[in-house]
Amino acid sequence: MGALKHIINLVSAPQVSFLVAAIAFFFVFPPTAGFERWNRRLRLNLLWTVRGGILLHALVIGGFFLSTLDPNFRAIVAKPDNVPIALLLFGTLFFLWYAMKQAVDNDQRLASDQKPNEYTDPSEPKILVWPDLVYIELIAAVLCMAALIFWSIALEAPLEQPANPTLSPNPAKAPWYFLGLQEMLVYFDPWLAGVVFPVLIIFGLMALPYIDTAPEGSGYYSYSRRKLFISLFLFGWLLLWVYLIIVGAFMRGPNWNFFGPYEEWDIHKVVPLTNINFSALVWVKLLNRPLPDNIIVREIFGIVLLGIHFLVVPPLLGVTVLKKFYSRMGNVKYAVFMFLSMAALTLPIKMFLRWTINLKYLVAIPGWFNL
């Protein structure tokens, strides 16, 4: 048991867990026909059946409750602050499964030339808003109320003493919905992590339906008809948002150090490492020279890399791997799409550079731009 916990602690370190999750992601949510074939071959599409769903939930919920036997794990998840986050994550899992089940159901129906589940015959009688829908909403509202009342009685509110400006709690955590941002702030300038990236992620996700305007598969749940965009959406949502919230909420302890789920939150955990800027890495370590005084010269390598990332890679992909996609999308849509994708990619890339070569900032112009 101890050994197993130790392994889980090691594997959940972001450098491992994020990589594994990112690779596994494309097999579970295939963006292209090639991945889709693998998805079938590995039987991953069975996840979205009733049986697969029961198994999935049993594993996750069972694993969760088994883990609460561990005092360190329990200490974190049972904090009144964290209970709703855990509930929410289960909710996310369930609704993800439910939507995927409906989509895969429809995919199968369409493959065998049936109409999708949501299809209604125009000659059938319609359901009225009043009273049918309003009743359902009323019942839902009453149930929500009951759940909230029960919750407020059963669980004490996490109230603390009056705020004291000279005393920062350690770790100092944002509310749960900002934890993804707080986690991003570890890697980027506040301006980028706090404003640019959230805006890009949120608006990028919102923009996807307007970039993919193909009419097929709209009006009902379906996956394989617009797999690329659903897959990308889920990537942004699950890995760049939910994953970061999980890490921020449950795995960041004192001094914002990383702690595995069964690790004790030790204030004195020592993480020996020194971050280094890209400029120092190239000029000092590689070229054996002192850092140039001129900021632009100093940061030139990082700037060039960034330029390649945003300005060279997209057109290059457009004429090679994504040729068909490019001609289908046209200039504007392709440019918007690529900009959003490349921006979204900088996040995992930067995280990896931090984890592997301890990179502090690729381009570091203090006060202006740190990436």
């Binding site: 000279t166 005393l167 702030l185 980027f188 001094n255 914002w256 740190n370």
Partner: protein, 158 residues
């Protein structure tokens, strides 16, 4: 209402209401946007008196580390002299804590770490902790001036 109003083919009443609504909306947004520009200049100026008397140098034998919670300053004395660092993280302004065991400052918010000299060892903080001038007053007291930031690693020699 008379029929004459509808006689104008370019703009009937419905159109007019729509246009009026849109222009009212745009005006409101424009004014709000212009108003928000005010926010660019800080309305509260940082209070000027930021000088802290910390007692005579004899109170600070080499190896002393004294934290002034209220002022968010730490005064450190080592073999080379006495210096004062700000405890405000240069990333987003959380207050760093001193870990006496490992001899470094840790930020509770995003995990920046600083050496005892204030240098960043772990990102995201973009630059070192601010270093304030420490001077000796005629009366033998030392004064930390939070208005004067030092760029180099100067220390007060005693």
């Amino acid at each position: 209402m008379s029929n004459e109003e509808n006689a104008n083919p370019k703009c009937d009443r419905r159109d007019f209401m729509g246009k009026a609504g849109v222009s009212a909306f745009l005006t409101a947004m424009g004014l709000a946007g212009a108003g928000s520009l005010v926010g660019l200049s800080p309305s509260v100026l940082p209070d000027p008196s930021k000088q802290l008397k910390i007692g005579p140098p004899q109170d600070y034998p080499s190896g002393t580390v004294r934290v002034f919670d209220e002022e968010k300053v730490v005064v450190i004395s080592d073999d080379e002299g006495i210096y004062a660092l700000s405890l405000v993280c240069t990333h987003l302004g959380c207050v760093v804590t001193l870990d006496r065991g490992s001899g470094q400052f840790d930020c509770p918010c995003h995990g920046s770490k600083f050496t005892m000299e204030g240098e960043v060892t772990k990102a995201p903080a973009p630059r070192s902790l601010d270093r304030y001038e420490v001077s000796l007053l005629p009366g033998g007291q030392m004064l930390v001036d939070q208005g004067v930031r030092l760029d180099s690693g100067e220390k007060l020699k005693v």
